[in-house]
């Protein structure tokens, strides 16, 4: 550029021309001038262009700077290249593929190529090259100043050295301190190089590797402490109340510390530190400040954290605020019931403050409307299950009073209202501890409920007490038995609300009934039969198959399987199992999780449930993830040699389909085919039972499958068995009662356009007796079936 410029020389141009590597042109001209004009020579080699040598420092500076510049340029080139590669990669990923699978295959290849060709390492290495270039430049700078001014050079050099040391330390520090944030890809590079060079020297490599190779994070805190700190940070710093609420809610899962700061006995991991606890409580108090208490949602979130609540007794203030907020919240929505429950639990957990619950209910029941009291009672009912005895005792009188109050209300009697039921169940529960008062309680509650439901409810409370061997309850129990026997028949169509209560009661009754100490076996069988009938009827209701029904059924089954020594139980279990399976098959068995519990129970009934039941169970089991292995075991147990032969044709077919599925899932089913085919062809009955066309179709289908898929030996065996079949005795009657020939049926099956019927046609040609197929024909059959 300087050559192009033609205007007058300025300072910059002058400076640029001073190339220290070349002889000084001005001096050179001077020397020539001297020689020409004065015939004098200057003996300094500096002025002789031939003998000119640039000073060492200049050469160093030039070399360093040029290298630095070159390196930077190379980095720029490579970076542009890499950007192009990445763009190309993204473009190839965006290119449409024939199918999603093809895309996945392509992606697998290209993305593994990225790692195989060390793309990340390459891009990570580029900055390192640039760092090198910078250091070269700095060193060059230092050398440059050396010849000008050694003090300045020293300054530059020391600065460069300092930066270099800092660079090295900051690069290597993450290898030693995991939380050091100065981590760069260079570390990975160093690790690879070290491993590559020192990998073969056992001990050194181990030291080096240990120094740099630990890529896995080792947390300095226990998981509990980590979680705790994170939550504390969220609560302290996040502005949005939803976020804070979520964090507060999550605190519930942290290990608990009691108010002294010691971990509770059952907590092993750690404890919520008092500091964090204080933060949490402060935030909770903020959340519950009068301004916010109108917002039930935020309050709910605070309260919903059960374990958090149990820690809150450190702060009485919070407790009071919660209770006040509950009092003030005028809209008692169903979600508030949950809050009440939680609050009651909180109060129950406070041993030093047991009276508050009572006071609360006592003070409120006068003021509050009945629905509200009922809601409290509902909540109370949940809590009372594992509440403290003393509180129960104190509540007893109060509940009786409440019951009276409720009974004064004009509620329609036909509808067993939830409120009444709850109050009655509380009363019965409380009263069951005192045999003397019990008839009175029964009478009182009996007015409130449907008699049959009352009987079931009472039974569920009395039976456990009676079964525990308390003779005082004998009369009550006898009465209840009578009531139950008459009422169970009337309870033929349970509605949803009754079902929920009834299922609970039934399950509660089952436990004592089936205990070995309970001697009245006959009656327990009767009860079980009644329960089975009740719940089987419930299953036929067209409403969605609810959880409670399936729960009670599985419990029934489990109980029955435990009492396997009683023959009658087995019959009931079988009936129940069959019904469950039939109900299951009618529905989408992929989503009905509850029925799998039942299936799991039935799996244990191996000895007592008939083959038919077990096979019909197998069918749904096969389709559920995780169950094929169980199905396999069950299948093996069915096909045990000592079992009676399976004679029902559709069972055979189902077994075949199941085997087919098992085969798909990698089980070795070939011997099983042999069992099925063998058993069924040796025994003639299946032919006789074959009365409809569809059953014959099943059979033919089965055989065609078997022929298309099983091995040569099995095929031979099948043919041998087929020869034994008394073919001439076949009297086949179709649906219209017409006699049909086997050939007709076979052709009908063939017309269903299933390629696998090919072999069937082959033995149609041979008129009943199938030929032993040669290898070629068999292959063709397999090939056809594969289409």
């Amino acid at each position: 550029m300087s050559e192009i410029r033609t205007d007058g020389e300025n300072e910059a141009d002058r400076i640029r021309r001073q190339k220290q590597l070349e002889p000084d042109a001005a001096k050179y001209q001077l020397a020539a001038y001297l020689v020409v004009n004065f015939n004098k020579t200057i003996s300094d080699t500096k002025y002789d262009p031939d003998l000119f040598v640039a000073p060492t420092s200049v050469r160093w500076v030039t070399g360093l700077w040029l290298t630095s510049l070159g390196l930077a340029l190379i980095v720029a080139l490579l970076a542009i290249l890499a950007k192009q590669w990445l763009e190309e990669y993204s473009r190839r990923m965006r290119t449409p593929a024939a199918s999603h699978q093809r895309w996945a295959w392509r992606h697998l290849m290209l993305s593994s190529g990225l790692s195989r060709w060390q793309m990340g390492m390459f891009i990570g290495g580029l900055p390192v090259a640039l760092h090198g270039s910078l250091f070269l430049f700095l060193v060059g700078l230092a050398v440059f100043f050396w010849s000008l001014c050694s003090e300045l050079a020293f300054l530059v050099l020391s600065a460069t050295g300092g930066v270099f040391v800092f660079y090295c330390i900051s690069t290597m520090a993450p290898a030693i301190a995991q939380d050091c944030p100065t981590r760069t890809p260079l570390l990975q590079l160093i690790r690879l190089i070290l491993v590559f060079f020192f990998g073969r020297f056992g001990r050194i490599s181990r030291v080096i590797y240990g120094l740099v190779a630990s890529d896995k994070l080792v947390f300095p805190y226990t998981p509990a402490v980590c979680n705790e700190r994170i939550l504390a940070w969220m609560i302290d710093n996040l502005p949005a109340i939803e976020d804070v609420s979520a964090a507060v809610e999550a605190i519930g899962s942290l290990p608990i510390a009691d108010h002294t700061g010691r971990p509770r006995p059952h907590s092993t991991e750690g404890l919520l530190k008092p500091v964090v606890m204080r933060t949490v409580i402060q935030r909770a108090e903020l959340l519950l400040s009068p301004d916010d208490s109108s917002n039930p949602d935020s309050m709910y979130r605070v309260i919903a954290s059960r374990r958090f609540l149990s820690q809150l007794h450190a702060s009485q203030l919070v407790t009071h605020q919660i209770s006040d907020a509950l009092h003030n919240s005028h809209a008692m929505s169903p979600s508030n019931t949950v809050m009440v429950t939680q609050y009651l639990e909180l109060v129950l957990a406070q041993r030093d403050y047991p009276g508050r619950l009572y006071d609360w209910l006592a003070a409120d029941s006068a003021v509050l409307e009945t629905p509200k009291v009922a809601q409290y009672l509902l909540a109370l009912d949940d809590v009372m299950r594992d509440g403290q005895a003393s509180i129960k005792q104190r509540l007893k009188i109060r509940t009786r009073l409440l019951c009276n109050e409720v009974s004064r209300l004009a509620l329609p009697k036909e509808e067993p209202s939830e409120l009444r039921t709850v109050i009655c169940s509380i009363m019965l529960d409380l009263g069951s501890a005192h045999a003397k008062n019990y008839p009175q309680v029964l009478e009182e509650t009996g007015h409130q409920m449907l008699p049959e439901l009352h009987a079931l409810l009472c039974l569920s409370y009395v039976l456990p007490v009676y079964a525990a061997g308390l003779p005082a309850y004998a009369d009550v129990y006898a009465d209840l038995r009578g009531t139950y026997e008459t009422s169970i028949a009337r309870l033929s169509s349970p509605t949803t609300s009754i079902r929920q209560l009834g299922s609970r009661c039934t399950i509660q009754c089952l436990q004592p009934l089936l205990s070995p100490s309970f001697t009245q076996t006959e009656w327990s069988i009767q009860f079980l039969r009644g329960a089975c009938a009740l719940w089987l009827r419930g299953m036929n209701i067209q409403t969605p198959w609810s959880w409670d029904v399936s729960a009670v059924l599985s419990t029934l089954l489990a109980s029955l399987s435990k009492a396997a020594d009683v023959v009658e139980y087995t019959a009931s279990a079988e009936e129940l199992a069959t019904s469950i399976v039939e109900n299951t098959v009618k529905r989408d068995y992929r989503t009905e999780q509850s029925s799998w519990n039942t299936a799991g129970v039935l799996r244990d009934l191996e000895e007592d449930v008939s083959t038919r039941t077990r096979i019909s169970l197998l069918h749904p089991m096969i389709f559920v993830r995780g169950l094929p292995t169980s199905a396999w075991n069950l299948m093996c147990s069915i096909l045990k040699p000592h079992q009676r032969p399976v004679s029902m044709l559709n069972i055979v077919f189902e077994m075949y389909v199941i085997l087919h599925q098992l085969h798909h899932r990698g089980f070795d089913v070939e011997p099983m085919y042999g069992e099925i085919v063998g058993v069924n062809l040796c025994e003639a009955p299946w032919i006789i039972t074959m009365s409809t066309r569809s059953q014959l179709m099943f059979t033919l289908k089965l055989f065609s499958y078997a022929m298309a898929e099983v091995s040569e030996s099995l095929w031979n065996r099948f043919v041998l068995q087929m020869d034994k079949v008394p073919v001439n005795d076949w009297s086949l009657v179709d649906n219209e009662g017409q006699l049909v020939s086997v050939a007709d049926l076979v052709s009908q099956v063939y017309s269903m356009k299933q390629e696998k019927c090919y072999v069937i046609v082959a033995f149609k040609d041979e008129d009943i007796h199938p030929p032993v197929p040669d290898e070629k024909m068999r292959r063709r059959a397999v090939a056809d079936s594969a289409i």
């Binding site: 550029m1 720029a76 024939a98 199918s99 430049f137 700078l141 559709n650 179709m697």
Partner: protein
């Protein structure tokens, strides 16, 4: 009741045996199961989306590194050039070449 996931990736259709007496329906089950990795199965769609996300992350990260690098190299060259200009013109030959670019 379908979750967001199920709505985005509907499960592959599979007939279940509504009537067990029907051969055809049963056969269709037989043929349908075991094809969960067929060419347009759900799992591939999920894989495609997830893999694209993962790739996006990696490639974006690299691109950012490279961008910073390129900007820095330009700055460094400019810097070097200024230094060279203000000093004895050691690099005048080189720097003039870059002067054109800048």
């Amino acid at each position: 009741m379908a979750t967001e996931f199920e709505r985005r990736y509907p499960p592959d259709r599979c007939d279940h045996c509504a009537t067990r007496q029907n051969v055809v329906v049963l056969i269709s089950i037989v043929n349908r199961l075991g094809e969960e990795t067929s060419s347009n199965a759900r799992v591939w769609r999920i894989y495609r989306d997830r893999a694209n996300d993962a790739d996006q992350d990696v490639v974006d990260g690299w691109n950012k590194t490279l961008d910073v690098l390129l900007i820095f190299v330009r700055a460094a060259i400019l810097e070097a050039q200024l230094l060279i200009l203000s000093q004895a013109g050691l690099f005048s030959a080189v720097s003039t070449a870059f002067l054109v670019e800048v």
